[in-house]
Amino acid sequence: MFDYQFLLEVLIGGLLSGVMYSLVAIGFVLIYKTSGVLNFAQGAMLLFAALTFVSLVERGTSFVVALAATLAVMIALGIAVERAVLRPLVNQPPITLFMATLGLSYIIEGAAQLLWGTQVHGLDIGVSDIPFDVGGVFISRFDLFAAAVAGSLVALFTLFFRYTRTGLSFRAVADDQFAALAVGLRLPRVWAAVWTAAGIVALVAGLLWGARLGVQFSLSLVVLKALPVLVLGGFDSIAGAIVGGLLIGATEKLAEVYVGPLFGGGIEAWAAYVVALALLLVRPSGLFGQKLVERV
């Protein structure tokens, strides 16, 4: 007899953890859409945010003050990156910018550890991980909380992009940089704003992931989990990042439970990449990515 209730439980657990992947992926999408840069430093920013927050809290700062201070630090970081890295490299090929963000990721990581040390910190954001019992299916309270936070963040971004003029500027720059210059948009300002937004996403993701895994060096490796999400959803679609995250989360957990035993378990770590690779062969621009149509 197949245990559907268990399947449902695994599926829901997978979807909810997928939301956490989406959260990281959205940080990538924001920057990729508007500047065509795959920001490898997103993971380092995440670590930096979480580490700053947790260190402040451990030094006796209240939750709210620490959050505000970290937010301020992330905003400063976003503006600094635009000034110090993006502006001098404007009009360089994407691979140059990618390498720059790779270097940046190590610098940010190094700075984070220089500043706050290398120990592992526990992070308690006040949500206990006691499962809910919904009709016999157990759902993690923490996962639910994380999903709610991620969901509202996405909703906020969507409203912002659709209804504010700054949001429209973001979309315009993402659509065509030359045209954006032609109408007199100040690209540096837009980029600084985008990196700030990505910093805010990194902060939220850092806190949630930090609470789950502990705040430590390996937190910056969460980016590696975001990559299959991006491949699946397309690098330039926020909706894609969400759906991609959900798919990857669900696939991972289901594969681990139902396919894992065939391989002796432990496939959760790489099942996502198999899925991403398979999809690349069929749809190179992802499920939601913009297909490039070029006249030949």
Binding site: F160, T164, R165, T166, L168, S169, R171, A172, A174, D175, D176, F178, A179, A180, A182, V183, G184, L185, R186, A193, Q290
Partner: protein
């Protein structure tokens, strides 16, 4: 009559050479309005754009040689010429993409050695591009709205909170967009994604985007290139209507001479970087140098100019 004498008196009172301002500028004080410019402006209140002795060379290739040109308020002014005559170079000098080796550019009462591109919109200058610079992934409405992007906007927080100030600016902008969109008969496609429209319509969207900020001077870079004959007629009507309705001064460069002759008030002809003729369409059409430049030797059956 009285106006001419008034100008003469101004000149006499000044006892400074009129191009004194020009020299001050060419001594390299970039975008600071030059001395004597105010007086020059009094001489020529109706001149929106003035080019004085513009020369530009790329290495050994001379793109522009000593070109002077003035554009009066409210006129439709065309620059024509064969391929490689320097039309695009001239437009790029006016919009600040190129810095001329010599000469001066004057918008209203501001004189420049090199036009500060970023401040162009603030000086009331808008332009369109030969190969379009639309946001192909945004709606027509949003594209036109971006024509107001350079304006001072309400602060970021105010936009999010939706303060009365931000709302008012927003409403004003939207009203301006609506007006231009319906003026150019784009209402039916206002929510369409710009990239999905036919080329001629995209050109019209770009025109709308340029017009929404009510520029004093509108630069059109080959507005009729690549559109069908009927679209050309429509587009030229729209350009003329825009001038009549908003009083926008228009400077355009164009290949299609027949169309330009019908549309423009004055036409300047470039050839090998020099200005070889300047005047009303009729004068230019009758100019022997122009005919030679275009056709080499004028045959009876090749008088495209005469259409």
């Amino acid at each position: 009559m009285s106006r001419i004498t008034a100008e003469a008196r101004v000149l006499r009172l000044e006892d400074v050479a009129p191009d004194d301002g020009l020299r001050a500028v060419s001594e390299g004080r970039g975008d600071v309005p030059a001395r004597g410019v105010e007086r020059a402006a009094a001489n020529d209140a109706r001149r929106v754009l003035g080019l004085a002795n513009i020369s530009l060379a790329f290495g050994g290739v001379t793109a522009l040689r000593d070109v002077s040109l003035d554009v009066a308020e409210g006129e439709i002014r065309a620059i024509i010429g064969p391929n490689g005559a320097g039309k695009s170079s001239l437009l790029n000098v006016v919009s600040g993409l190129y810095q001329p080796d010599r000469g001066q550019i004057r918008f209203g009462e501001h004189a420049f050695r090199r036009v500060p591109t970023a401040k162009l919109a603030a000086h009331g200058v808008a332009r369109t591009f030969q190969n379009l610079a639309l946001f192909k992934g945004l709606s027509v409405f949003d594209n036109v709205l971006m024509g107001l992007a350079h304006r001072v906007s309400a602060g970021f927080l105010r936009q999010i909170v939706g303060s009365p100030h931000a709302r008012r600016i927003d409403a004003e902008n939207r009203a301006a967009v609506e007006e231009v969109v319906s003026f150019l008969h784009l209402s039916d496609v206002r929510e369409r994604i710009a990239g999905t429209l036919p080329y001629g319509l995209q050109k019209r969207v770009e025109l709308a985007r340029a017009l929404v900020a009510r520029p004093r001077l509108l630069l059109l870079d080959e507005p009729f290139a690549g559109v069908t004959l009927s679209e050309k007629q429509e587009l030229s009507e729209h350009v003329r209507n825009a001038r009549d309705r908003f009083g926008t001064t228009i400077l355009l460069i164009e290949h299609d001479i027949g169309l330009v002759m019908g549309l423009s008030d004055r036409v300047a002809v470039l050839d090998y970087g020099r200005k070889i003729a300047d005047g009303t369409p009729d004068q230019v059409r009758a100019d022997q140098t122009v005919i030679d430049a275009y056709l080499g030797v004028a045959h009876e059956d090749e008088t495209e100019l005469a259409t």
